[in-house]
């Protein structure tokens, strides 16, 4: 969708961007990441030619952008900046319709579009369309900044640290909202950030820049697991392995189809099952397979009776759709080394252990 071919930018004596070659596939979120002054913003701004490249070619959907008139090019690319840049003289409605108006859309169509977009970010059009930016909170302004970029339905979106100026709590909320929007719209997004956590959360791919060069361009998991050099390893942080916990779901790391017992089974059966699998505890499920409790080997051994009369409550359960970060956090909270994994309806799907998580992370990891 977007292809940069040996693109460079020289300002006077300094080379801001040095022969960057990269490709962003349609529907992907590519995060340009790096310390300030690394060339990531310059690289992004060359895509819509806010900064003209000194050399190299940029292709959009196969077309050389040099051949497209600047203004036409920019109108076909959504643009979001950190300071949001809503025009204070215009209502929310007019702000959203800036590009449709420039493109001379029919007024009724563009205003209907504005209302539709507001609903997509959970703002009531009846309340917000006629408001001015100064009458909105920072978070609301930022949401409108994002939908404004989507107004003319451009296939490509450039975002320059769009959530950088928002407080951490709201930032998480807006990031999640944007991810939901993106999942539905599948835009090709180039997203500048200096925050590794944001990059890991938002990016389908991360491009790490240093001194104008593209150092590593890979999926978030690979960047964290296999940083290409000491700079990247240092930049993503010494806790990079912990960050990976967010990228792996419980489903990927759990042991599926574990042995289980029912309430009407005898303790004897439970002990046999545990010994067979080498486990020290076993989960009791209800008649339809919902996790109900746990029977410990040391408590069950030598005792007679039914599982139903001898089980203990489960020390912790985790939803299979959660990420490993949540799982590990729950383990620490309950002081256990394993968790029963259940699906949204409470059915017992598997179990996850600390050792299993460690192995899962180690499988692709590399130290620098």
């Amino acid at each position: 969708m977007i292809r940069l071919d040996r693109v460079s930018k020289v300002f006077g004596q300094t080379t801001a961007v040095d022969a960057v070659t990269m490709e962003v596939a349609a529907g992907e979120v590519c995060v340009l990441l790096g310390p300030s002054g690394c060339g990531k913003t310059t690289t992004m701004k060359m895509i819509n030619r806010l900064i003209p490249p000194s050399s190299g070619k940029i292709f959009l959907d196969g077309r050389d952008t040099d051949g497209i008139d600047e203004v036409t090019l920019r109108r076909s690319i959504g643009y979001v900046i950190q300071q949001i840049g809503l025009f204070p003289n215009m209502t929310v409605e007019d702000n959203i319709c800036v590009v449709p108006d420039l493109l001379k859309w029919e007024r009724r169509k563009s205003r209907a579009r504005a209302a539709e977009l507001l609903e997509m970010v959970n703002l009531d059009p009846k309340i917000f369309l006629k408001r001015y930016p100064k009458e909105l909170s920072g978070g609301q302004q930022q949401r409108i900044g994002v939908v404004r970029a989507l107004a003319a339905d451009p296939p490509v979106l450039l975002m320059d640290e769009p959530f950088g100026a928002i407080d951490p709590i709201n930032r998480e909320v807006i990031q999640d909202e944007f991810m939901k929007l993106q999942a539905a719209l599948r835009k090709t997004v180039v997203f500048v950030s200096h925050d590794i956590d944001e990059a890991v959360k938002m990016g389908s791919r991360i491009a790490i820049f240093r001194d104008g060069r593209l150092i590593q361009y890979d999926t978030p998991n690979n960047v964290l697991a296999q940083p290409i050099d000491a700079f990247v390893a240092d930049f993503v942080g010494s806790d990079r392995t912990l960050k990976r916990l967010r990228l792996i779901t419980v489903t990927e790391a759990m042991m599926p189809d574990p042995p289980r017992v029912r309430g009407e089974d005898t303790l004897d059966t439970a002990v046999k099952l545990m010994e067979e699998h080498g486990h020290i505890s076993i989960v009791m499920v209800g008649p339809r397979g919902r996790a109900r409790g746990v029977v410990r080997l040391d408590a069950a051994q030598g005792k007679r009776g039914l599982v139903a009369e001898n089980h203990e409550p489960l020390p912790g359960m985790v939803d299979v759709n959660e990420d490993l970060r949540t799982a590990v956090s729950l383990m620490f909270t309950h002081g256990v080394t394993w968790l029963a994994c259940i699906d949204d309806d409470g059915f017992y799907k598997g179990y996850i252990t600390q050792r299993g998580i460690t192995q899962c992370l180690a499988a692709t990891s590399r130290s620098v």
């Binding site: 819509n48 806010l50 920019r74 109108r75 300071q83 215009m90 209502t91 800036v98 590009v99 404004r148």
Partner: protein, 241 residues
């Protein structure tokens, strides 16, 4: 608290105006002013005529000039040029009129030119200041969304600077009205005729017959532009509403 203070202040002003009126009435000043009613009407028209022509010219030249000074390429000379313009404001009005008279002769042309120069300066300065105060990130957002330079000027820069530009026009026109009496000195007519003649013949009634309408016209002009400022500047960038 603030409301009460404001109300007390208003009552005090009204009382002072009333007392002044009573005092003037008692001394017969009002009666002598009334004698000049015909002159007041005629000269007020003449007065406002000069103000309107010179003011309109100044707006027509000043706003575009101010905008021009903020354009790319010219912008870096803008501060130097505004410095010169600032110097211009320090030249006494009377001196401007005198210079204009030596070139353009007596009568209305030098007066209109003098008032034009006087009015031009605040308008240019405020236009430059207003447009320069538009935050750069708004311009960047506008460029990034694909506005041409002219569209940026029209849709972003001017609306966001409108309040400051109109504030400049407001000040400039009030100054213009207040300075226009000097026109009499170079044969331009206007309410200055009553003021200066009143001084010369030591007749306070005549003097006031010129001075009070001048003051009232200045206040009215200020009010009129203020109202325009209230209604024409978009609500989102209008501190008045």
């Amino acid at each position: 608290m603030a409301g009460a203070l404001e109300r007390a202040w208003r009552i005090a002003v009204l009382a002072a105006v009333f007392a002044l009126g009573v005092q003037m009435q008692a001394r017969g000043v009002l009666a002598s002013m009334a004698k000049y009613w015909g002159d007041i009407v005629y000269l007020s028209k003449q007065h406002m005529d000069m103000v309107a022509i010179s003011g309109a010219l100044a707006i027509a030249v000043g706003v575009p000039l101010g905008i021009f000074l903020t354009r790319q390429g010219v912008r870096r000379y803008a501060s130097a040029i505004t410095q010169v313009v600032n110097l211009g404001t320090t030249v006494p009005t009377l001196a401007i009129l005198a210079i204009a008279m030596t070139v353009l002769g007596l009568g209305r042309p030098p007066v209109i030119f003098g008032l034009f120069v006087l009015t031009l300066l605040p308008i240019v300065l405020n236009t430059v200041a207003g447009i320069e105060s538009v935050p750069p990130h708004l311009i960047e957002a506008a460029r990034g969304m694909g506005m041409t330079r002219f569209e940026i000027l029209l849709k972003v820069e001017v609306p966001n600077a409108a309040f400051v530009i109109l504030a400049g026009i407001r000040t400039a026109l009030a100054i213009n009205v207040g300075t226009a009496p000097l026109a009499f000195l170079i044969g331009g007519g206007g309410l200055g005729e009553l003021i200066f003649t009143g001084i010369d013949v030591s007749e306070p009634g005549m003097l006031l017959a010129g001075a009070i309408p001048t003051a009232m016209l200045a206040v009215l002009t200020d009010f009129a532009v203020g109202t325009a400022q209230y209604w024409f500047v978009p609500r989102g960038v209008n501190p008045l509403r």
